[in-house]
Symmetry: C2
Amino acid sequence: MDNPSNSTTSSSTALEPAIVDERPWEKLTELADLGNAAPLVEFIENLTASDQALALSRLDEEHRKTVLTTLPAEDAVELLRHLSEIQAADLVESLSIDQAAAIVQEMPSDEQADLLGDLDEVQAGEIIDAFPRDEAIAVRELFAYSDDVAGGLLVREILRFDHSTKVADVINTLSENAEEFRDYDVQYAYLTDAEQRLVGVLPMRNLLFARRTDPVADIMIADPLSLRDTTPLDELIDFFDSHHFLGVPVVDAEGKLLGVVHRNAVDYEATRAAESDFLKSQGIIGGEELRTMPLMQRAKRRLSWLSINVVLNIGAAGVIALYQDTLEKVIALAVFLPIISDMSGCSGNQAVAVSMRELSLGLVRPTEMARVWLKEVTVGLVNGAALGLLVAIVAVVWDGNMYLGLVVGVALFANTLIAVSIGGTVPLLLKRLGFDPAVASGPLLTTVTDMCGFFLVLGLATVMLERLVH
Amino acid sequence: MDNPSNSTTSSSTALEPAIVDERPWEKLTELADLGNAAPLVEFIENLTASDQALALSRLDEEHRKTVLTTLPAEDAVELLRHLSEIQAADLVESLSIDQAAAIVQEMPSDEQADLLGDLDEVQAGEIIDAFPRDEAIAVRELFAYSDDVAGGLLVREILRFDHSTKVADVINTLSENAEEFRDYDVQYAYLTDAEQRLVGVLPMRNLLFARRTDPVADIMIADPLSLRDTTPLDELIDFFDSHHFLGVPVVDAEGKLLGVVHRNAVDYEATRAAESDFLKSQGIIGGEELRTMPLMQRAKRRLSWLSINVVLNIGAAGVIALYQDTLEKVIALAVFLPIISDMSGCSGNQAVAVSMRELSLGLVRPTEMARVWLKEVTVGLVNGAALGLLVAIVAVVWDGNMYLGLVVGVALFANTLIAVSIGGTVPLLLKRLGFDPAVASGPLLTTVTDMCGFFLVLGLATVMLERLVH
């Protein structure tokens, strides 16, 4: 997991170079068996983040639990942070409620919300109940938000003062609590009124030049920008694109200050979204898969996706069955059917990718299907002609029959047009209907283009049958 | 473009709500024709980042140039920042060298390097030459780095002092240059010795508690972590995963301080990498495509990829040609060939996606092909059996011939094993050989699995020919 909250360069052990260990999980197992915290902490701190994830993922569950429970809570948090979310969740789920609670409590609130969200409802609830009462209430509040809105991404660990506080008192609080504030964003303090409403932001450096007897309100930026707790991720991404802030304060309906969403938390969610688009486009749907997961879980997840596809495929192939007589007479057609179907699929996927890219960049609106269609048809005409011609030539050279070339060439040309038209517009349509374009575009596209492709080849062939049979 | 450098909440106009304008490019054209900076600045500042990109991308080139050259340089930089890199580069390329230089000079050094890297070599050189001499030298230095190493991602705009400077002098410098430093990361100052070598990092808040007559060296963190200018992106990602710094100082071979790489710059590059994997997996290879690009450019880019595929496809289809006689006798087989080929492709792509994911998480090493293969074969056995059985049943039900079911079922089962084996291991192999797994895995996989699939179906059919013909 990523940690959006800031930190200082005072972590010392990190100064030692990372150990390059070909099989770090073996050493880790040994240390876990010894069950002694100190050497475990030291060994882990000297591994790179990805080696930590690698080593831990290669341990059996018992050893994983031992490692996590042997480490001091803050080191355990540190370790979890370097795992993929799904690994971290699995690991915490394997712990007892008390063990889990002890660790989760050490996390900054945005990571808490993230992790708890990945656990099963019941267990998450039990873990929260194990917190001190007031803490539990606060966590429940954030936990109620989904992790793609501001409320689910914010950190509560911020410097907040009443706007009437004196400069001197702020400076003293800072020096007295230097340790506690170490991991905070110490670039700004957030100032509230008696009703906890956000009234100003205080750039810490202003403290350097201020008279110590003044109230901080005198040196604060009044009416700072803030966002509602319900602001969705894409608006957050847009916000941080438009403003170079490291964080933005988040308020509820009454204007009460809830916390701060950091740019890093938003960047992190954006990366996850892009990664999941890639996985989905390749047919990994039910959440990410790691090869350390149990076999049946991995097989089932993949199969659920494959079985939809095979059914769609069989449907498309049905078209071929309809034209068996034609095929029987002109067997050469069978050679070109897979080519037509694969190539149309490729052209369509390109159009899908460009549409999803333009949607994510905001360069096209889901309503502009006509515009996209026109742009795609022009490309389709050019590429369809080129591909059709190429395949036609191959057919003529190989089979010696002009008309075979004509049939497959025209079919591929026409089907390329169909493929890019569907591929370009379907993502916009799905987006408008609230579906995930990354998941649905692929199979939908392939099936339709396959069907059309087979229809075109075999239909055309049936029409010109006499010309095709030698 | 993203701006990794920090900033303050003191930007005022941003306080006004963003205008929701269905066709912002029309208003933008009007304002461009008026050629008056003030209203242009105001209109643009009130658009969201994505609406700015949308509006600008819909203008004709002339108007785009007018907008960019009418805006004050710092606003032009602001605007460019919200465009995708490719849009920004196109736009700057359309300007005169002087116009471009005036704008590029206003950018923080990491964005300068990014943009210049996207321009054509010659023009980039001319723009740099138009800078003041010392500036030009510094820019050339960074420009020499590729943008996936620390040297290409760092900002030179940092607070740096000699370690012998007095606390009071630092505080004065800060207050005197408050304006200039506004966009800097003011969380830390970086301290160097007489040879410009990095000797310490100064958390600004330490200034709050320090005696003003002390040298800053007394309150600095000595021997801070730093990275070489040559550190590659994946190590940077790993570094920021392991440390919660907002930035890390970058030094050259002599230990001289070059600048700071900010976490945001690294997060941004990571997102780009994930996005480009998705685009590549869908067959958008030659850099990202926007539908605002000229038709032939878009067609050519896509075609270069398609033509490779069609050739590979034709090669695979050749296998079918070899077995025409069998196919002629058992025409029903033609119905199942596309199913076998599509389904194997799907299974293979899933394995590719999981391998690339595990590679990027560091959960598998490129050398662990045997491990991955075993993990994939097990899944392949389960899913291959399920899919094979399903298709077999369909064949029997539809054709009434047991043996047809046997042939297609066994073929799909075996080919699924082949597909996941290739799909799982090829990305590791490509990574080891230094190729880009996202680009090469797809077509390679499809061709080989198609060939094998056709061989299996038609080969088996040929063996059991008597049983298959009615």
